[in-house]
């Protein structure tokens, strides 16, 4: 809810207005429409519980003292808070190193993709050159290829160049970004070409135009792309699982996943602490950039 002012007075008014809207839509409805509204609230609330309760349960369990974390009947709301589940999950494991690895990989892939995809998005939407349509078609149709279909050749490629179990090995496949190019093309296309022409008449070279005009104007698109790429890389599992072989090079997801198979299998308190630790950055990012998320989902989609 970042778009909403954080001052308390306007905020109170804002809530009152929302409540007013709800009341008005109720008042203006016919009896038949009221039935629909009631059904809508009931069904949507039920599905919201289905969506949110597992995450609540994860956090609640993680924060309970280990001795009562798994007790049944359960304590629905933790009465005492403890970080011991986190201690158990972290003990004897290079969790900080895994976190650092995940951050390095996600940041690097995001940075490269943003630059490459914005450049290509500009090229595909504002430049005319032979082969443009067919190249773009190639990018778009490759978005359908299951990543799993490429994993074996990619692994062999990395092995050939000695990149298995290295940062570059983790990062490299993320640099091919058909989705990013598609998204940025859709975005840059909406920018008025007159602006670029005007800058060119003022004597700006192509690189100047890109740097001074395209990049700043593309910021909203870049924000959406950046968030999605970072989130995807932070959550990535299959590729980091395959391309890393030493415990020190694991990313957070892979490190904890393998740990779950070895030791934490039935220690659900510690398992939920690990899950909470992995989910927390994404949940925080989501709450800060909520509107970018909600908008981003629709940019990549279709009009209709």
């Amino acid at each position: 809810m970042s778009s909403v002012s954080m001052d308390s007075a306007p905020r109170k008014n804002w809530f009152r207005r929302q409540l007013g809207n709800a009341q008005r839509s109720w008042r203006e409805s016919t009896p038949g429409e009221r039935v629909v509204l009631v059904v809508a609230y009931v069904v949507a609330t039920f599905w919201a519980i289905v969506s949110l309760f597992p995450l609540y349960w994860m956090i609640a369990t993680a924060l309970k003292p280990p001795s009562i974390a798994m007790v049944l009947p359960p304590e629905w709301i933790p009465t005492s808070i403890s970080l011991n589940n986190f201690r158990e999950a972290f003990a004897g494991n290079p969790v900080w190193r895994w976190t650092l690895n995940s951050l390095i990989v996600a940041t690097a892939v995001t940075a490269f993709q943003v630059v490459f995809a914005t450049m290509a998005g500009y090229g595909f939407s504002k430049k005319v050159f032979p082969g443009r349509e067919i190249l773009f078609w190639l990018y778009v149709s490759s978005m359908m290829i299951p990543p799993f279909a490429l994993v074996i050749p990619l692994f062999r490629l990395m092995a050939e160049y000695g990149l298995v179990n290295t940062y570059w090995g983790l990062i490299a496949p993320g640099l091919s970004a058909p989705f990013g190019v598609f998204l940025m093309r859709q975005f840059v296309q909406t920018l008025p070409s007159d602006l670029f022409d005007a800058a060119r008449i003022d004597g700006g070279g192509e690189l100047r135009v890109f740097w001074d005009i395209v990049l700043p104007l593309s910021k909203p698109g870049i924000a959406v792309l950046g968030i999605f790429v970072f989130m995807g890389q932070w959550s990535a599992f299959l590729w980091p699982l395959i391309v890393t072989s030493s415990n020190e090079m694991r990313t957070l997801q892979v490190g904890f996943a393998l740990l779950a198979n070895r030791e934490l299998r039935v220690n659900f308190g510690a398992l939920m602490a690990a899950a909470t630790y992995m989910a927390m950055p994404m949940l925080i990012v989501f709450f800060i950039f909520q509107r970018y998320f909600l908008r981003g989902v629709t940019i990549g989609g279709v009009k209709g």
């Binding site: 994860m58 290509a120 090229g123 190639l138 990619l154 599992f237 779950a260 198979n261 994404m282």
Partner: protein, 308 residues
């Protein structure tokens, strides 16, 4: 732009200006797509080609040997793989129609609500999507746990006996499918409501004056006009359903007795447990073909010819 000569042709001086200008345009076009295209070539197109080639080969210490269709023949006659392939389709059958129905129903319903509640529900539905597959697997592993999980506890309160959700032949796949539905449709719901915003309001006003009910309005206005977005949800949903992996690896390891294994899991097993890259690539190529067939068929079926 350039002045045209009275005779209808460009003067020499103008031509000199125009032609290089076009080439300059080409050059900068290629310049801007160059970095992304090199990466695309190395990390998407080349692996695609290599995957197809590997599927006809056997790798050994001596190098790569052409074995024709041997890898495919082996897989087709292998019971375990047949089961994985069937399971892959079963996942799609259990996931896609129900998923489209679920997201469409929820989108239609919350679209009626005031903006504040819409945003709240959309965020709630989307939250599981931002957490990772590993996180969700951990959480649902706990919920489904026979001894400590909430599911058996709650069912026990109403007298339904404990079940081994993930290790019972009858319930293992359905448990994974339920988890998929509970965590996957946030993005689709957001997309559908956004598309509904593009439908002209006066259509609904007219329908309302005619006394059309919510269901009537939905089936005769919203759903037909929403066809492209529904197609998108169906296609991305099927692609996702063909590629479930993290949950299978972390929650069931393909078991019990291969009942939850799918093609993607076979690629992993053949490639990185048996280290048979040829067979793994053959599975990958088959998966790719199935994906293309499913996506293209749906695109054809749901292709829209409506304009508004």
């Amino acid at each position: 732009m350039a002045q045209v000569h009275p005779a209808g042709e460009y003067t020499v001086a103008q031509r000199r200006q125009i032609i290089p200008k076009r080439f300059r345009e080409w050059f900068w076009g290629y310049f801007f797509i160059f970095p992304s295209f090199v990466m695309f070539l190395i990390f998407s197109l080349y692996p695609m080609y290599d995957s197809v080639r590997l599927s006809f080969e056997r790798l050994s210490l001596r190098g790569r040997d052409w074995v024709g269709l041997d890898n495919y023949r082996y897989l087709i006659h292998n019971d375990y793989f047949q089961q994985s392939m069937l399971n892959t389709l079963m996942y799609a059958v259990w996931i896609v129609p129900i998923g489209v129905f679920l997201s469409l129903t929820l989108a239609l319903l919350i679209y009626r609500l005031p903006t504040f509640f819409q945003v709240f529900y959309k965020s709630a539905f989307y939250l599981p999507v931002v957490t990772s597959g590993v996180v969700l697997s951990f959480v649902w592993l706990y919920l489904y746990d026979p001894a400590f999980g909430l599911l058996n506890y709650l069912l026990g309160l109403v007298g339904i006996g404990p079940r081994l959700w993930l290790s019972d032949l009858d319930t293992s796949m359905i448990s994974l499918v339920i988890m998929f539905h509970a965590t996957h449709w946030g993005g689709s719901i957001i997309l559908l409501t956004a598309s509904m915003g593009g439908i002209p309001k006066d259509l609904y006003e007219a329908a309302r004056l005619d006394g059309a009910s919510f269901i009537k309005q939905s089936t005769s206005i919203t759903i037909p006009l929403l066809k492209p977005a529904i197609a998108y949800v169906a296609i991305t949903g099927s692609i996702a359903s063909l590629q479930i992996f993290t949950e299978i690896l972390l929650m069931t390891r393909g078991g019990p007795d291969g009942h939850t294994s799918n093609m993607v899991f076979s690629i992993y097993e053949q490639g990185f447990i048996n280290f048979n890259f040829g067979r793994a690539s053959a599975v990958a190529v088959m998966l790719l073909l199935i994906t293309i067939v499913v996506a293209v068929t749906q695109f054809r079926l749901l292709r829209s010819n409506v304009e508004y």
